[in-house]
Symmetry: C2
Subunit: 466 residues, 2 copies
């Protein structure tokens, strides 16, 4: 597209949007638009939008999609922009649709354990609203205090407690979606079971805004857990010992709510920042959270403790003291921002079969050594979902090149171990080559066929995933 | 298609199959083929196949699909033929692919809690094989002793224990699928989490053989439950009282493994057949199964008992005696065959929000009265999934017409209550009109677009679902 044509289309779509949306819904000021052009994926490219729109309803979203369809304008939908793969990054001349004004919790049906929410509502706001009714929305990505349900749906976000309670897709019963044509449809069913027709609900979840714009989400809820959780902590001198402990817990049959791993780099970064008196001699900290109540819960905690000790923990203890437990899980949640203080972070998100966690950690260490890069590790270890983190000083091109090489090596290693290039962050821009390497050309062709079926003109978040 | 052309194509595809498959894999004897032409859906039409094939491997399945693709022959895949919607029914001139020779449990990975199985393996055979390793495959359709995993995947089968443990889709991590082109692909990932690419794994589950032929299933397993379950039983004089009891259990926050309902017609049919000393004065029997161990399990059982009593149970008791509990659940499982003894059965499968169970039962009773039809009810009441059953004497055309009218009324009532036309049996042939009424023309068009994207020539199980 020549620049002239580009300008013309941009003018055309702006005009249509202004004509169809209320005042204030359309932003074209470049300075303001600057806050809507990328997510938190360092290094992922982004372009300059023609406009940013902030609709308040599915009818307004339908107007936006129709305007884009009529003018052939790319449409990039974004929630809070906390993504880590570039999935919400603008492309040149696009319309960015921000869901920031669609934040209603429209209904909480206590008796049916369901909530109906708009896509722009913050995960934690849903959590708090349903807790008032004695209900629980389990999916808890580390970003839960700032990320939106719509964004969680777009990436099929996981979190800490998905080891026991599942990921976002498991909690989405139904969706309202604006299709590429501007048509509004409802997919799925608010019932607990549904075998009627193709599962386009599940297909939409994790499709990163490339197949439709989600305008309403019907969430499955659970009763609030009965009591406070129990925490079991283990410090390990080697990655291998920690990996063995994870495998032993899985084999024991105990399913913790969460089984998290932090390595020495994370521990140091948190300690330097927050002074939490963490054991800095350890190579790895494992944190298990258990919520089975009563005597069975006691036994489970004892089992996990035994698994940690048998795997050679240098220190292991069980804590029923909620304050200590919260502090340790806070250390887990603080690891990412603590490392971010040291420079821009590139975040990996590989997931391997649980028995391969040790091998994957060793492959990560080897990749770091090979390319002269320091790699910190946060992992949902019980799920086999690892987040190697690269701190790359801004402006250091050589460091960046080396980190990219290590990033690619880690993806290759994950695939070789039977794993996936994304456990919970999605593909966006950063993992497209990895996805193609993982699934192969036949499945990529299938993705393209499905994309074409739902978005023949290719206006919805083009260039993401495929 | 004229009959002459039809014959020619039939000869052509038979020739290709015979040339590419081992001796014995292709059946063209009409008498033998007669056992492969329909499932257990009374009244669903079926045609005469050109051939029945019994491949032993995905390579052989790929040969079959390629032969069908080359000749434009419809391909109908079937497992054990226990479906209740006509999803496996032959169409004239088709190739029926039976998975009966693909029954291997290829791998049980104890450490990762995964099994890899062929589609023709019986659900219960998987259950027993993994139990030897201390593992559990939860989905338990009533047909679990005779239905195949491939068939369970095709319909996204539920069962009794999905109230707490979910349905088939929740336990399918990955699939090997032969596409309409004959290409073999792998979808999903054996990891516990996966956010890489579109969820075509989930799309295939429940697609009733219309989007691809599943040749391998990677199943997620759980540890075997620790101890024997507890059973709570309640007899109720009215449907309303039983419905209130179900709503009270849901509201209590207790999640039973199963919460099943049998009405008086089922109780009588079972009693007349098996003499189990069931209370025939009751209108409804509710059966709750709980598996939370220890004191918490005790409390849960007490809560369910209180819910039953508060809703006005004429009798309610808790049984830790496994024999009694098994006998009661056996009555539940025997209800279907017990009614079948009285004549051909037409089976409904509507699912409504859990709070609408009473209204749905009342609507069923009203439909029966309106059309002069006796309707028995089995229900996964805790899920809101009801199976009204129509006994229609063979050859009684008037009774059949009246039953069909009641069947249609029940579907309309389920949709009006915010429910779905299929909780776990799928659409097949019998529910196509109901599906269209439920989801509307825009979603039906979307299904057609997805179907066309994956099967452009329309050879895979044509006429099913859409």
């Amino acid at each position: 597209m020549t620049s002239g044509l580009h300008e013309q289309t941009a003018g055309d779509v702006r005009q249509r949007l202004a004509a169809r949306l209320p005042a204030g819904a359309v932003v074209t000021d470049p300075d303001v638009m600057g806050g809507f052009v990328h997510d938190e994926a360092e290094w992922a490219p982004f372009g300059q939008p023609a406009a940013v729109v902030r609709p308040r309803s599915s009818a307004e979203v339908a107007e936006v999609v129709s305007a884009c369809a009529a003018t052939g304008t790319p449409l990039v939908t974004r929630g809070a922009g906390t993504g880590l793969s570039g999935g919400a990054n603008a492309v040149d001349g696009c319309v960015v649709l921000s869901t920031e004004r669609m934040t209603a919790v429209k209904a909480i049906d206590r008796a049916n354990q369901i909530a109906v929410v708009e896509p722009g509502v913050i995960n934690d706001d849903v959590r708090r609203a349903v807790a008032e009714q004695g209900l629980w929305y389990p999916p808890d990505p580390a970003s839960y205090q700032i990320s939106t349900i719509g964004g969680n749906v777009a990436t099929n976000a996981g979190g800490l407690c998905c080891l026991k309670y599942g990921v976002t897709r498991d909690y989405v019963l139904a969706l309202e979606v604006v299709l590429a044509s501007g048509t509004v449809v409802r997919l799925g069913s608010p019932t607990t079971k549904n075998s009627a027709g193709y599962d386009l609900r599940g297909l939409m979840v994790g499709s990163e805004g490339t197949l439709g714009v989600v305008t309403e989400v019907t969430l499955r809820l659970r009763p609030l857990p009965a009591g406070p959780p129990t925490t079991v902590v283990g410090f390990f001198d080697t990655l291998t010992a920690a990996g063995d402990a994870v495998a032993a817990v899985t084999a024991s049959g105990v399913i913790p709510v969460a089984l998290e791993l932090l390595d020495r780099y994370c521990l140091r970064a948190v300690e330097e920042w927050k002074r939490m008196d963490l054991d800095l001699d350890a190579a790895v900290l494992l944190l298990a959270r258990l919520d089975t109540p009563g005597a069975v819960g006691e036994e489970e905690a004892a089992t996990v403790l035994r698994c940690f000790e048998a795997a050679g923990a240098s220190g292991a203890l069980r804590s029923d003291d909620e304050e200590t437990a919260e502090a340790l899980f806070a250390a887990r949640r603080l690891a990412y921002p603590a490392l971010e203080r040291l420079g821009p972070l590139l975040t990996e998100d590989v997931c391997v079969p649980r028995t391969r966690v040790t091998e994957m950690l060793e492959a990560i260490e080897a990749a770091g050594a090979r390319h002269g890069v320091t790699i910190a590790n946060i992992a949902h270890a019980g799920d086999g979902n690892l987040h190697p983190l690269f701190v790359v000083p801004a402006g250091d091109d050589d460091a960046r090149r080396r980190a990219q090489a290590a990033f690619d090596d880690i993806i290759a290693a994950a695939i070789a171990l039977g794993g996936t290039v994304s456990g919970e962050h999605g593909i966006g821009l950063l993992k497209r080559a990895g996805l193609a390497a993982q699934v192969g050309p036949d499945v990529m062709a299938l993705y393209a066929a499905v994309k074409h079926a739902l978005d023949p003109a290719g206006i919805l978040n083009p260039g993401k995933i495929i």
